[in-house]
Assembly symmetry: C2
Homo-oligomer: 203 residues x 2
Amino acid sequence: MKIYEMKIAPNPRRVRIFLAEKEIDNIEFVQMDLQKGENLSEEFRKKSPLTKVPVLELDDGQCICETLAICRYFEERFPEKSLMGKSPLEKANIEMWQRWVELYFFLPTGMCFQHTSGYFKDRMNPIKAWGEECHSQVTKFMTFMNRHLATRDYLAGDAFSIADITALCAMDFNRVNDISISDDQPHLKRWYQLVSSRPSAKA
Amino acid sequence: MKIYEMKIAPNPRRVRIFLAEKEIDNIEFVQMDLQKGENLSEEFRKKSPLTKVPVLELDDGQCICETLAICRYFEERFPEKSLMGKSPLEKANIEMWQRWVELYFFLPTGMCFQHTSGYFKDRMNPIKAWGEECHSQVTKFMTFMNRHLATRDYLAGDAFSIADITALCAMDFNRVNDISISDDQPHLKRWYQLVSSRPSAKA
């Protein structure tokens, strides 16, 4: 199996952390330079029609795009060390949190960067006012997480899950948006230290 | 079990179609008027801290928010008539398509409406240029779906799935954005007629 990715991008890191937690280490990683547009070639579009990374290529050539779909594939094939829950209720609760984090923290984090930095300005239409609105969505969600984490260690349920992975990757990527945890967010800070100190965070 | 929803909103419809396909009909539906702000009460925030609908309330009072998390709960409890796939590869492929449709079609459909119509302008910051950008993302994704559907009946694999549900609900909701399938999109039109004619589409 191969994964096409770009090491510094936040979505590929979600997959690498997921795999590290599951101790799956027989994957070949192929680096792509997105800023140079290596993902826009005809050949890569056959693997990833929307030109995004990461992409998982199976040994028979079939490709799975989208971070969560790649994680789902590994979770279903290797259910030990579950990161997406076991019972229907656990799975639903983790998916709820994974989606909250993704829709209201991870996505605005990425859009804040794209719409204010001009990083991809050769291939998108940056709208500064939207980037600024995303900035405020990100800080609002951090307030929400801080409150939630006052009474628990992890975002969803009692154990580390894919929701924590998504949140950690968004939190770290917010460096590019000049957003960090403030001193009046002690619970978020404690959670951040806890999840950052797992060996998988280095992946 | 109870579901809090607003009948005309597109996310609750995704859940209703999902339940209709699975022939689950023992749920009580509670209507909320979002424009009047009924979802902003302290009482409702206990069920749905981000004030969104739909919300599934279990008989013991536990609540699951987020459309996909609610669908996951029912898929896991009642795996017959699967809408999210059975094998790891099927599950991953359906999740990939469900996410493509959601991120690049359903979400921009909703944001186009919100940022150009002023519907929620008392509680959000509408940015017209972003609404217009979303409009163009929506029509671009329709071109992509039309091409993909040239050689198959459904979006993900050989059977109707949750990816088709998300796409159908976005397609119909695009009425509010004045976006419809054009005559040079015959494959998308055929798919639309196929999925719209299922009894569940009336849900």
